[in-house]
Symmetry: C2
Subunit: 211 residues, 2 copies
């Protein structure tokens, strides 16, 4: 991850905020005043570094000739794909640096609508046919929110410890047991001992690309 100074980070945030609000980039003097810098040449100096490190692109001698490289500026979110989910495999969970987009091996662009404004969203690719009861097919992408608790009726990535099995199901807490309800409501629920159930994220969306 390219290292930038605190001031450069603040300048970048200012640019992003300005762009999201106005739909066009700030001028050098907008940045100067917005970041309490006393000279346009400091802005210029730091913009050159942000460009060198890949955060922006500059067109020289063009008013507001700044382009933000991130998708965030475009109402989209770049979600890291951190691995696969399959029945007999442990469920990948995001590390602290999962949202360090520049370092992600793979990301997908997702409209903000789909993530409902959440910031920490990650994606898993489904492998195999074992999530069919969740109406999720091989190759589907599930968007996940990291959590170890869900409300009743929410769909979660569940790790069943003794079976060593991952599954996606709607979770309902009942007295003394957990009911795991397939999304396919024509199928039967399973009941599990709460001690055997580990919730490893909430499913917030599913995306399937067919062609």
């Amino acid at each position: 991850m390219p290292k930038i100074s605190e001031r450069q980070r603040r300048i970048l945030e200012f640019i992003q905020g300005f762009f999201e609000e106005r739909g066009y980039p700030p001028s050098i003097r907008d940045i100067q005043h917005g970041c309490s810098i006393s000279s346009t040449s400091v802005v210029d100096y730091n913009l050159d570094i942000l460009e060198r490190e890949g955060y922006i692109r500059r067109d020289r001698e063009v008013s507001r000739g700044l382009e933000l490289k991130s998708l965030a500026a475009r109402g989209q979110m770049e979600v890291p794909v951190i691995g696969h989910i399959a029945a007999g495999e442990p469920i990948p969970v995001p590390l602290a640096d999962a949202w360090d987009i520049a370092a992600s091996a793979e990301t997908i662009a997702v409209p903000r609508d789909l993530t409902r404004g959440r910031q920490e969203v990650y994606a898993l690719k489904v492998k195999g046919l074992s999530m069919i009861d969740a109406l999720i097919d091989d190759g589907d992408i599930v968007l996940m929110q990291p959590t170890s608790m869900v409300e009743n009726g929410e769909m979660a990535a569940v790790w069943l410890k003794s079976e060593k099995e991952a599954t996606l199901k709607r979770v309902y807490a009942e007295p003394g047991r957990i009911r795991l309800q397939p999304a396919n409501s024509l199928m039967q629920p399973i009941y599990a001992d709460p001690a055997n159930v580990e919730i490893q994220g909430k499913v917030i969306a599913v995306v399937r690309q067919l062609g």
Copy 2:
């Protein structure tokens, strides 16, 4: 739909192209030269109309103070939701003005990745549980490409005429019959007379929002 003149439409396209390429809007003189207009005041005059009609937002006396209102400028596509698909109902097909976004009752934002650069994409909301064999749930959104022909193995919205039934299945042409294969490969295919099968669009993606 707000009516704009040919010149205004060309200016708008120029702005969109410039913005997608550079990440910032054109100046008045960029537009002037890009659209072969001989005076900046003509640009100004036409920009005011584009603003009045809702295509752009202008900040006065600000260089490049133009904001495009459309999602297209942000790497996303605004897809019209033209209706519901349910088993016993005719499948909505897009009318010629379906892609007139300003007139659509409902649209969803979709990243360009998901539509693979296609321009004419529409969405249908799934109603009921009858598309379960396609691994598609009540409430899911299917993105469709208008077509009456698909390649073998592609998923299509199929209208079965004598049954008066809509279904989403992979379509395979076989000698003398059409095989309709559920996406859920654990389920059996059905075979239909080609004369009974009407293909009313190709499924290109499925989006499910859970929470």
